[in-house]
Symmetry: C2
Subunit: 335 residues, 2 copies
């Protein structure tokens, strides 16, 4: 859709302008700090979708916000939060690849001594969180709205961290469907869809009631987004998802796909080093058990329900269409 | 001093009230999230000095701020930032002890599986940063002042992260006195003294000029604070500093003490597992070389200069005395 692509370009340009300013400042401090900001810029711009800033923009215009230049500026806050969370998540999961390139700690491993990569990436994530607050604080919206939007953003990050906590301790626990849903709810659903949408809506002056409606529908899409992510983590192609094939299986990620397959071979194999034949066998079991269909049906149900919520909401017509388009895209996405 | 002790109690109570609220919320989510918040509370309250919130309070009242109840509430932001930075710093330095107890990742190691400690502590630090923004956002000061104070706080954390970055890459580089000064300037001086003071002053409505003066004198005290910290890291007593004797030497921390000793035995030994005899020998060399005296003289010079700045500033008389008292205490502190 043209309007989405146009905003995506504007968001990318805004991110570039932001990093240009940060790099000019860093250059005055030292070459190494400059390199560090450069690595964060590269990591952030490598991400293609810019889904979160787009949602912030549409949350704003969807409730009558007129200053599109200013909302694009402020919207990059959500992308910088995303970088912060991904960088720390990749350290925690010990992942090597992200967005078709090395994860931040792997970039540092190459640049500096091997053992410093994780330490430097912890700091880089912290820097990204710091940076994230600036576009909102510096924006020209009413102070009252800015404070509310920041309060909402920090509450979303807080819940996301709780979700990350669930995810990590889930590794050493027996988990059930409810636990997995809680991980998705806290770790993904809030900050991927509901968070960015509501930050935009708050800046447009949406009411408490309208924010509640947005959270409800945003969480549905967010849960579907994560379920789709889990499918891509098992069935996705390295060239499109930017991660190795079967990476979630090798990592031992406890997904609904694995849980619902309820198969002793799968349970024994996940979390171990898997070869192509084993990955292929696990995929077949997940399909044959009906687990893939179960997840896909759940995604469709969530997206359909969210689309109905969008239709019944007080969002403006144009943004209703955009959000429905994005929901459909997220249901079927391959990357 | 009674006024300092009184405020310290109020700050502790405010932190307890804050964590009570967070724990009530966490309890509704899950037992594990509740435990996690509990660990953060324990870690935060274990720190005795509450230096940063005190400085925020005095920065506020020192420029005529009257709402002492509200500034105490807002001041805990700086202590929560401190917890965030310490938790991540302890992971990076692989430290076991802090404030006379285990570091956050060590607490998690005990509670959950060993390999999860660092991951959970990364998240705990992130949560503490999130929390830190809330007391400021929720305070009843003018929105304009709140935004300015938040902008200042994030700028301070940004610089601290740059300093942490310096510190980590310093491990694999030859460093000189300027580099060490830069680490101190970025990593410590800003967020320990100048940051908290100016956040308070901004909330009281201090002018740009007054803020600049505060930063200047705050950095001097902050540099002295770090130099004193380095002396305690080599000569301090475990029971008072809450870290093992000679921990900085074992860790291989590149301090001014070590640099100025300029001794081949010291350079060879630091960063290795040291026994008591070796630590004692290094201490003697640092004393005999004049390096300890060099650092002590530098501390005295910085504190004297800062005290003069305080006298010449437009801070109110009562707070001038309090800041001079704190500067003298920091010069001589043993913990």
């Amino acid at each position: 859709m043209k309007v989405i692509n146009d905003y995506k370009k504007k968001i990318d340009n805004e991110l570039k302008a932001f990093f240009k300013m940060k790099k000019a400042h860093a250059k005055k401090i030292s070459k190494d700090v400059y390199n560090c900001v450069n690595i964060l810029e590269d990591f952030t711009l490598r991400g293609g979708k810019k889904l979160r800033p787009l949602l912030t923009v549409f949350g704003y215009t969807g409730y009558g916000g007129k200053d599109t230049k200013e909302i694009v500026k402020a919207s990059i806050a959500t992308e910088l939060v995303h970088s912060f969370l991904l960088i720390h998540d990749d350290i925690i999961d010990n992942d090597d690849l992200r967005r078709g390139g090395p994860t931040a700690h792997k970039v540092f491993d190459k640049k500096y001594d091997h053992s410093l990569g994780e330490s430097l990436a912890i700091i880089l994530g912290d820097i990204s969180f710091c940076y994230a607050l600036e576009p909102l604080l510096e924006s020209s919206f009413d102070n009252d709205k800015k404070i509310k939007a920041l309060r909402r953003l920090t509450a979303v990050v807080e819940r996301t961290c709780y979700g990350e906590f669930f995810d990590v301790i889930g590794e050493v626990m027996d988990v059930d469907e409810k636990f997995i849903r809680d991980i998705h709810l806290y770790k993904t659903a809030n900050y991927t869809i509901a968070g960015p949408l509501t930050v935009g809506a708050i800046l447009a002056g949406a009411s408490e009631e309208q924010i509640k409606d947005l959270i409800k529908l945003g969480i549905k899409i967010g849960l579907a987004f994560q379920l789709r992510d889990d499918i891509l983590g098992v069935f996705g192609d390295e060239s499109t998802i930017g991660k190795p094939v079967g990476s979630d299986l090798i990592e031992g990620k406890k997904t609904l796909l694995v849980l619902k397959a309820d198969n002793s071979y799968v349970n024994k194999k996940i979390g171990t080093k898997l070869n192509k034949t084993e990955i292929s066998k696990i995929r077949k079991i997940i399909i044959a058990s009906g687990s893939l269909t179960y997840s896909k049906n759940l995604i469709t149900k969530l997206i359909e329900s969210a689309k109905l919520d969008i239709q019944n909401s007080s969002i403006r017509k144009k943004e209703k269409d955009l959000l429905i388009y994005l929901a459909d895209y997220l249901e079927k996405r391959t990357s």
